[in-house]
Structures are given as structure tokens and as C-alpha cells.
Symmetry: D2
Subunit: 303 residues, 4 copies
């Protein structure tokens, strides 16, 4: 909308909340201490305006999430698991779900995806004849790394793995950027629109969607950072409204330091926050993918 960068659909039009774009439906309700917001982008025009593919985006928010409140943590995992269960296809007794942890393991606020992979119950390799007799469903999980670390486009790696595994569903987990500092570490977003790195930049070849995969592609993310430039711009815009007609970009250039573009705003305790959130997301995924197993059985099978 204004050059602000956010990965949350609900923030894409926050700046103009009163004037919610045509073609965007929003519902908000509460459940177990968690605020749910459903944003449905219904038209291509709205998708372009928001820079998000058409489809459904569900966010779950609670400020208590950051406080490690065990009730809210459990409520979030349950909501996530229920929502995932609705999106997953009925199991055919054979096919495998593929969980993909996007992001860079070496960069703390980008490590959410790999951290979830570390906690996902992986079962595909358990003797093949186990399925479909067992109560367990086959699951694979991998963190494919990022372009800067592997030299290979992440989407190329993911596509290779999809071809290899031929999953009945793909679940991608990633760290997100937000605009509102109160949402960092306090919000999960779930969408069935697939993953489209470069969406909005006009590069649609690499999208991983239900169409391209032939199976649902569900993305789960949590905002872990604000881009520093977005924060600065927000500060400027705020004041701009008061001050009337001033040149924002001039002011931006006046900020001390030139390295802002590469910097992020994040909570001091981001290391612990990532580990916590990974636990919740993995619990939601494990419950949804293994509906016949109890939490205790899932825990006992991890190693």
C-alpha cells in the first residue's frame, strides 16, 4: 500500500483500516483467550492492492503468547491443529504429508521454520509395511535452507522434494515480518494460498500452490521482526499526519546511519521466543497429522 513491508494479510490494509479495500472480507472473533481474524481476499484487484494472493488468511493473536502463558499456548496449538485438520485432505491410507521449514537456521529470527522441523514427528521412514495398518500417518519434514547458504533457489529444492515425495499435503512454516510491534511473537497466520516468494514482484513461476502441487499447500507463519525501514517510515508517517505536507523521503535520509535497510526490529528475547513458538506450531502440526496418537505418544516417539 505505502511501501510498508508486512507478511500479515491483516496488516496489509491497516493503514487504511476505515477504508477496507473492496474485495476483502474480514471477520474477527474470540476463542479460548485468542483473537482470530479471518481475512478473505476474493478478487484479483484486491489481491493486487494488498500484494497478497487471493484466498483465506487466518490469524490467531494473544499478547499472552509472548508471556509463555500455558493456557494460551495450548489454546493456540489446539486452534492451529483444528484449522489444519479442516484444510488437510481425508487420508487415503498411503500418501505422505510434507512439512517444510523455510528460513535460515543460522539467523535467529529467521530460524522458526527449521526449529519447527526439529520438533515435527517424522514417520515416513518407519517400515513401509507399517502403513496403512498402523494408526500413524507418514510424515516427512525438511528444512531446505536459503539461497544465500545453499546457492540453490529454495523453491527449486522444494519442488524437487515435492516430486520425490509426492505428498498429499504440504505444510510450510516460515518467519514473517509485521508492521505492528505488538504482533511480534504474539500472532500466528495460517493460509491456504500456498507460498509465493516474490509475489507482488510479478514472478509467478515459482509459486507453490494447490494448482502447481496437486495437493493443498498450507503456510503457517509467525511475525518475528519488523523491517527497520518500515518502523522508521511508520514513525515519519505518524508525524507527517500532524505536521501536514513534509517530504518523508527527505526525512528518512536524515536518519542517523545508512545501514537501516538491512536491519530488523525484534524483541531482545527473540531466541527463546522462536523456540517457544516452534513448540506450539509443531504441537499443532503433530496433532493434526497424527489424529490417532495422543500428545504423550507423539512425545515418546520423538528422538
Amino acid at each position: 500500500m505505502h511501501g510498508f513491508r508486512t507478511d500479515l494479510a491483516m496488516e496489509a490494509f491497516d493503514g487504511a483500516q476505515d477504508a477496507r479495500p473492496c474485495g476483502v472480507d474480514v471477520h474477527r472473533w474470540e476463542e479460548g483467550g485468542v483473537t482470530l481474524t479471518e481475512v478473505v481476499v476474493t478478487t484479483d484487484d484486491a489481491a493486487r492492492a494488498l500484494g497478497k494472493p487471493a484466498g483465506r488468511y487466518l490469524t490467531m493473536e494473544s499478547p499472552l503468547l509472548k508471556k509463555r502463558d500455558p493456557d494460551v499456548r495450548n489454546a493456540m496449538a489446539t486452534l492451529l491443529s483444528e484449522e489444519l485438520s479442516r484444510l488437510l485432505p481425508a487420508w487415503d491410507g498411503r500418501s505422505c504429508a510434507l512439512v517444510i521449514g523455510l528460513g535460515n537456521r543460522q539467523i535467529t529470527p529467521d530460524a522458526l521454520g527449521p526449529a519447527v522441523i526439529d520438533r515435527t514427528l517424522v514417520t515416513r521412514h518407519l517400515s513401509d509395511h507399517l502403513f496403512p495398518l498402523s494408526d500413524m500417518r507418514p510424515v516427512s519434514a525438511i528444512a531446505p535452507g536459503v539461497l544465500g547458504v545453499t546457492g540453490i533457489e529454495t523453491m527449486d529444492v522444494v519442488e524437487s522434494l515435492v516430486k520425490l515425495v509426492r505428498p498429499c499435503a504440504v505444510i510450510c512454516v516460515d518467519s514473517l515480518a509485521a508492521r505492528d510491534s505488538a504482533r511480534i511473537g504474539a500472532t500466528l497466520q495460517l493460509t491456504d494460498t500456498g507460498i509465493q516468494p516474490g509475489a507482488g514482484v510479478g514472478n509467478h513461476r515459482r509459486a507453490l500452490t494447490r494448482q502447481s502441487v496437486g495437493a493443498p499447500v498450507i503456510a503457517i507463519g509467525m511475525p518475528t521482526v519488523i523491517h527497520a525501514a518500515t518502523l522508521a517510515r511508520d514513525a515519519l508517517e505518524c508525524l507527517g499526519k500532524q505536521a501536514g505536507d513534509v517530504d518523508l523521503s527527505d526525512a528518512e535520509h536524515g536518519l542517523p546511519g545508512t545501514a537501516l535497510g538491512e536491519m530488523i526490529v525484534t524483541p531482545r528475547e527473540i531466541d527463546a521466543l522462536i523456540q517457544d513458538a516452534a513448540g506450539i506450531i509443531a504441537a499443532g502440526i503433530n496433532r493434526a497429522l497424527q489424529p490417532e496418537l495422543t500428545d504423550a505418544e507423539i512425545a515418546a516417539m520423538m528422538d
Copy 2:
């Protein structure tokens, strides 16, 4: 000065660079691709105005530091080692230097101190009869943790260790906050004023200084973060200058999110940056404390 939080003496009056406070001397020069700035706070009035104890502050800066330029890295380590050597007392053949890594190992941008401790050559425990015969000097190193993790005031732990070890010199390493984003990961500050957590808040009991210890207390730090509120305030101030008379605190409250106070601005690659900087600082410390050993001998003794 203006409610901006910075641990760099050179930034404490940046906002009013043209009007450098009385009682503050500044010299700037270049050496091996590194810009050195010496700030000497000579009067109590100046100390109060800057919120920094009187004494000498030396910063070494190079934008290439973040780029892992090996020449600049080596130049920094050498400059640091030379400067430390000047500040250390002549060795009496017995007493021990104590290196203290301040900060929280579990919080990436706060982990510089502990990371330096992990790379410091520790020799005090090598058979006592080795000294003073050997070319090595006795060195201890410890990361005492932080109040929130131990429940014990860091300064209390440090004072206990000082009583125990009775060092001939104390070197403290810590992560710093800066104002200018270009200085994050690009600047080292060295000072002989000791460490005074709570300085400026009027709490002087806990200061660790040459007076309280009876030996030089040298602090080395690198800025790893900007406080998010400082960045927002800087953005607002910038614009304020253009826009004339507007109420900054009003604008500040208009920023999206209320959690800004606990957030930090930091480079995405902070994990790697901390490890890199720890290597440089430890190299500087090891060379200064073991003038009779080559880099290779120091490396070979680490394990």
C-alpha cells in the same frame, strides 16, 4: 542529552555535534583503514551532561568490519592489543589478569561478552609453579551471567570474583547500544573508566573502577543494537526539524504497537557478527595479555 540511549561516548553528543559540550575533547585520526576517535571527558559537568563518567574513550571504526575484511579485522585486533598494552600495568611476575564477559549468553545480541570469554586463553590454573618462570602470564576469564538469569546482581558476582582472584587488571567485555545504525557491528569502544552499570541513575555503589578495585578496569564493547524507541525518536526528530513545532511524544504514541520499548534494532546477521567480533576482541586481548606468545602458540593452547 535528549532521552536517546547510547553507550558510545562519541554518540552522546552527536545530536549536537556542532556544539560539542565544554569539558569534552575529541580527536579523530586514521590508521590501517580504521578510523579512531578519542573522546576525553575532562570535567564532572561534562560527565553529567553526557551521562558518562569522566575519562578517556577510544572508538575504532570501519564499515569493512561487518564485511569480514581480513585486513581490517587484523588491524582492529592489533590496534586493540596495542591500546590494551598501554593501559595494562607492567607485569609483576605473579598477578593475574581477570577478563569478564558481561551479558546474557542466551540472547544473541547480548552474547558478545560470553563469546569473548569462550575465546580467551585462560592460564591461571596451569600449574602454579609455572609462573613466573614461564613466558605465560596468568589469566582468568568468566561470564558471570545477568541478574534476570542468576537472581544475583552482576556487580556482586564480579566483586566476589575480584576479591577471590585479586587481579592486577580487569578487562570487561560487553555488548553496547548505539544510535547510528552504521556503527552496529562496525565499531569497538575501549575505555579506562571502568564499568558503572546504573551510571547516570545515581547509583554509584556498584561501580567497578580503578579506585574500587585497586587496579586498572578496562571496558571493551561493540554496539550490537539500537533501542527501537531511540530509532523511532530519531526518525521523529528528523522530521520535526523540517516540520517545525510538533509534539514528538504525541507522534510517538501514534506508532503502531505498544511493545516498542522492549524491542531492539539489529542486523539480520547478528549471530555471525557476534561470533566474528568476539574473535577479533579475543585476539586483541590474548595478544596484549600474552606478549611473549605468538598467535600460533596462543591458538595451539586453546582447547
Copy 3:
């Protein structure tokens, strides 16, 4: 007994199980799927023979612990908490418990103590006037490092902290060595004899005991390694029994490699095992030290 190194009292006479030394009482029972063994060393002669100070040693064992069985994990934490509660003094409304994590954070199988510290609820720094009004009890926790890393005797650091904090109880957590591979990661040992690094070597100055501290000193440990030389010797002894009179030390020298003395035997999954065990031990400690808080309240207070 035979040059075998074990930190478990129950293993100190395993080699001669039939001939349990005079002055040693042993009881074994089961509770919640966990086997408990109480070894009481009642005489100085027995203490010398076993190389363990006189006192009470309680081990809790279950092979399911390694398998992450949630019921056994919870049963262990509960047993540990109950046992600790019995050993802790009635709380006087003021004094602080001090939890000490021995071992080296950088060496995986030695990192149990520091990992427990990372999960211990620390409260001593919460505003002093909170106590004794609150339901919470003041707790400090610290990992003092090891001699090779700090250059300072661990016991010297611990004694300094004891002087500083004047605790009403000290709980030390450490990684142990065992003889029986089945006990690695499957056994907790709890003792009220304090910690005596160098016990058996005749160095009694550094012991941290109820006498030296004036408060209970409780040690909790889990075996994480077997010394490779112990394993080799056990293998040799086994065969020796069959083969009759052969020279064990000759055979030992025939083993490929000379570096065995510095090597350890440990499970491949030791990294995960340490983290798991740290969670159980910390749960036991937190419950015992905060009897007025629920598990959920404890979790919510950690950050």
C-alpha cells in the same frame, strides 16, 4: 574398588554385589514405574572402601527415561521434587535457595548442570519487598564454569557465591560417569552428602557440605558417560574371569590407540538426552522450591 570410575554409589560395589561391603545398607523398591535404590554409607571404613563420603544416596532408574516416556518423565520429576522437599529446610520466609549447575556448557555430555540452570525459575531479584509477602521463595541459580575454562577453581567460585548469597540450601547439579551403559540417561542420583570434587584423592579442603556451608547441600546428577578406559577394563575383566590368570594391564596396552584415557562412551543422541534430562531435573527443583506455584505459573514466569 578396582580402578573403575563411577560416580554412582550403587555401582561402587556392583563388581562385588554379592559381597556388599560392611557399613553399606541398600534398599530397593518401585514407584510409578521407577526403580528406587537407596544406598546408605554408614561407616568411615565403608566410605573409604567405596570412595564415597558417608551419607545417603538415592537413585531413580527407568529405561523408559531415555525413550522420552512422558509418564516416566513426570514420575521422575515428582519423585525428585518430593525427595528434595524432604531434604530442604522449612522456609524461614526470607532466605534464598542457591542452585548451582556444575560442568562445562561447551562440552555436550558435561552440560547437564548449565542446562538445568537455564530452566530454573530464578526469583531472588524480584523486588525484595515481595518476600516474604508473596507465595514465591527467593531462588538464585548460576553455572560457575569449570577450571579449564575460567582458570579459577570451581569450588572457590562456589564458595564465593555461597558467602555472597548466604543460602538456606544449596542444590548442585552435575553430569556423572557410570559403569553400566544401561544407566546412561536412565538414572538420577540424589544425595545429601554435599559435593566433594577430589573425594577419595584425599583433598578435603574444598568439600561443600552441610558443615562447611551451614545449610543442606544436595547433589543431583545423571550419568551421561562411561570412561572409555573403564569400559575397556570391564571388557577385559569379564574375559579375565573366564580365561583365568592373565595380565590385564598388558592387554590394556594392546588396545588400538593410546588416547583412550581422554575418551568417553556416550549415546549418539546425547545432545537431546541432556536437554530432556535438564527439563526433568529443573521441573523437580522448581516444584520443590516453589511449593505454592503450579507448573503453569512456573512456566509463565520463565523468560
Copy 4:
């Protein structure tokens, strides 16, 4: 040979050193303080006898490697780089080298491969038009994880990546098992026989060889562990030679503990040793793959 497990070709016949198998050539020499041993397996019979594919195995050994001796470290990196350069094809100006880090990042002694990947200079993603004009050669690097963590056969993932990248050379790095404790952390093995997990078990489908890839497949490894059962068996065999005819398997069953099969023997300082070795191996790989870049240029490009 005797049920002993070793990944070092030079150890596969150590037990019968005097009786080196027919079809195996061995040469030993010294260079820069490093002992080099070349084992060439020339016949299928010898390959079967040794349980190693026919081909050339080069080991570089120095006890000083574990001691972090900088000269030996540098000599090793240089030898490795020279040897790799000989095995790599002349560069065609376009094709990419693919470095694969085998092993499990979460298990310390198995993390060598991933740790090398973290230090490999990756360049394939730098703007395509850079090549072939630039002095740099395109390199990709990835750690594909292990079956137990991903649920996908490692070889399947690697084959997918090979199809995707179509490399001109594959370099695989892995942790190895040895028999002789003196070789742990002190030995590198390099071979051009490719990687054949399951070799010797008769499973040849998954081999990654020059034939299957159409490009050289070079494996680099360092022993990080001895299997505990191998150590015990070696101890028993040693004694067996003295004691005459005894039943080794009986004795083995007499060893305390039943969990030995899953245990490993490793140095206490394995965490540091892995990081050190990864630095040396990555230096060797980076130099060989980027012959036009200096060490300093390589370091400056890493981030």
C-alpha cells in the same frame, strides 16, 4: 574382517597388518608434519574382503591436529586442497560444484558435514551473468539431513539435488567411525570412490559414484567416534590373544549394560574438535574450488 566397524580403509585390514590382503596396495609418506597413507583397492575380491569399494583412499594424519597446531592445520588444508584439485575436472566456465554435508546437525559427533557446509563459500546464486566472466566458480552446498530426521532417504534427496544442479563435481563430507582411538580427530580420509551407504550390505542402488552422476564424486571424512561395541570387542580380542581359546561373544555378553550397541566412544572435547575440523576441511574445499581467490577474499565473501 572381524565384525569391527571402521570407515577408514587403512583400518579395514589393520587387524592383519602383516597379512595385507592381496589386491590392496599401500604407500606411506610424510609431508609437512603430516603422515599420508594411500590405500588402493585394486580387485573386487579385495573390495569384498575389506567391505570397501575398489578405488583410492588417501588418509592424512597428525596427532597435532587435535592440539590445534596452526602449522599442521594449515598443512592439512593445503594437502586437502591440492589433492582435491587433482581430482576435480578442469573447469568448463559454467558448471557448478556441489558440496554435500552428510550427517545430523543435532548430534554433535555426526555434525561434521553440516558444519563444513556452514563454512563453504557458496557462489552459484551470485548473478548468473557473473560467470564465466568472473574469477569465481559457481558452488552450491547443502546439508540434506538424515533419514531419521527427514523421513526421506538421504540418497534420494542427494540424487534429486544432483538432477537439479547437474554439477561438474560432487564433494561429500561426513563423520566417520574408526577403530583406533588415536585417529579420532587426527585423521582425514579422502577418496574418489563415491559414497555408498549400505556398501557391503549388498545395496548398490543408492550408490553415488562417478558412473551414476557422470562427474567425479569425492568423499572427505574425519573419524569422530569409535563404536562402543568395537572398542569392547577390541579389548576382548587383545586379551583373547593372550588367554588362548576363549569364547569372545560370551565375554561380550558379560559386560555391564546392554545398551552398548547404540553407544559411541568419543573425545570429551568433541564439540570443539568438530568445529575445528570443519574449518580445515572447508578451507581445503574453498581453496580447491576457488583457485583464483586468496584466503582473504574467500573470508571476505562469507557472511
